[in-house]
Amino acid sequence: MVSASLALAVNLLAPPAHAQSVNTDIRQLSIEELANVEITSVSRRPEPLADAPAAIFVISAEDIRRSGAINLPEALRLAPNLEVARINGFSYTISARGFNSTSSANKLLVLVDGRSVYSPLASTVFWENLDVPLADVARIEVISGPGGTLYGANAVNGVINIVTKDAGETQGALLDAVAGTSDTKVMARYGFAPWDGGSLRLYGQVSHANSTSPLSTLDVSRTAWARNQAGFRLDQKLDADNLTLQGDVFANSEPATESKRNRGYNLHGRWSHALKSGSSLEMQVYNDENTQIVPGQLREQLDTFDLQVQHNTALWWNDTFIWGGEYRHSKEAIYSSTVFFANPVTHLDIENLFAQDSFRLFENLRVTTGIKIENSSHSNVEFMPDLRFTWAVADNHMVWASVSRAVRTPSKIDRELESPGVLLPSPRFHSEKLTAYEAGYRGQPLADLSLSVSLYYNLYDDLRTTFYQPVTIMPLQLRNGITGDNYGAEAWAKYALTDWWRLSLGANWLQRTEKLKPGRRDMTFGQSLGQDPPYQAQLRSEMNLLEDWEFDAALRSIGHVKARDATTGNTKVLVGAYTEVDLRFGWHATKTTEISLQGFNLLHARHLEFNDPSGYAPQYVPRAFMLNLRQSL
């Protein structure tokens, strides 16, 4: 898949949120808004998101603004199909359908405009370095469930697609400044048209998040986070071609102690070409480099080059066929004084080919089927097939079902990490596998009510264990040894009570059963599988008061996290259930000035969201107040 929105054009995942052929709502858009509706996402057969046979939740730019989110992970709390837990000042862990912890949230793929920010080196996403300016985000598409056929390996439990605005939509100057009890941020952007058909934006963003307070008096770690990032995006429109070139550069650090320093850059080009036949061709290439340094202990460096090509066409009448391929090369280097790699520098090569076709089997029944075949130098050839059905039951009511397979491929850490006497390397560690059965309903039971319900049954195999020796315990070894049998449900609804008051409700529920395979052992049973609350629920209210005022409220309630103690085998509550409330008053002082006062986590002075003894020391998330100014020129 070439770009995020591109892949979405296809079936599994619909085109841009506003690209839906849902005419009732298209009709309500103003002329300005109509001009921004993306009508064909390359396949030239735009699909209503309503028809996408997957659990997809779209966070719009407006949702983000009204949430008052200061950073990307906070904005992701809007998605009812995600688990978002803040660990400390800089770190978050995010997952879908379980496995949420710093070491196990390795089954969620995250893309920014089609560029993967999932680290194959550590099998995780370093959220602290993903500082996309929220004012430039067009939408975030959150898919829970496998997306391997289009997105490839590691899209096991979900995919997050962050889509930034076209440079043409961000013309002029913008200042977005936040001052608060725990965060400050200043973002400045300037967009202009350097020549005919071209638009360019430049931005810079500086932010600071305070260190959070520790659970344990023994924890003296400082987790403040100072970020500096700048970047650009250039879009060039030609008759049948769109060209995009974008890039970012960042340098982040723990400011007081310099105990953690990260830096990196990316440069990313995309080209799409509409062919006369109505089909289209897309290509993208990027280079992404980032370095993480823990002085005296660790230096991690990942340098990735990626090339993707995709062709969207039709095989016969009225179907949508897409196929393409990808080549990726990553140079992975870890130099550490605490852990050891026989080869500090390794090279990861990934090649894949995929094809997917979507066709109407009967008037109301559409079938989407495809496969991705991926070869990685860290694992064997993997097959990721997918079969999906969409049944339009009636006007405004759709039911979908799917069965698919996805894999989480081994990382350098899985296979090569060693520590003499303590940990053996695991050269035979192979992919973790998922076979997922899903079904869902999406529709509009009432004119002002939209509803989505998804059910899933996930069968995992070869999940990672920490094997210990029968008598001596040490040395440990990472192995594939757990099967999982998980099921759950996700639901969300949006209801417009009046034209000035809107409610959104979202919830998920997860039931997990994991078992050790015969003869296997696990040192940290439970912990290595993540920390998941059995339920999460949220209610959001957005009111437009008078002409210029907005009053927004969000309530979220998260169940407790239990884990089995590695030594005693008893289960205990690691993170208590919590309920929190956020409030926001927004005032559009002038056409170009917006001032808002925001309060986060108002019910308690502090609360705990995450407590994994094997990860960062647990720290409390504080109550926070922020004042935000957005000034455009």
């Binding site: 298209i26 429109k237 529709g443 509009q444 809107r502």
Partner: protein, 178 residues
Amino acid sequence: MRLRLPMLALSGLIFAVNARADVSLEYAVKAAYIPKFIPFITWPDAAFAAPNAPVTICVLGADPFGGKLEQTAGELKSGDRAIVVRYLPAPDASVSCQVIFMGKGDETIAEGALDAVKGKPVVTVTDSGLKAHGMISFVVAANHVRFDIDEAAAAQGGVAISSKLLGLARAVKPRGQP
């Protein structure tokens, strides 16, 4: 004012199901545009049979909108005037149209119709992909539906197009240009 895009609209966009998926999004967008142009356009009084006569949008040839145009039109008014849609298989001088939409069907029909209403207070709207251009011509550029305005042709027909709409157009051919 600021983009006060009702969340409702967006949520609907995301979730609603369109069982009649035959009309592409492109034409749904175009069908939403056309009636929304009307409040920005001023016709001479002589263009209407009566002070309260409706603004009539005529769709020439095949209907690419699958009935969607009527739905939008039915929800809007222009001042005191209702907005109605007529479908004309061929140009018909006996029908009073204030807006004529010419679809992609036949280039010669479109050209003939443009000629026939030239200099008259009839706002001609041409589909994207046509060689012939009306006062308003749709353009599909970079996956977005935009429109160009030929203000000179409008002025020739005695039709005034507000500067707001001109500002929203992708390109404007100003008055006084051949």
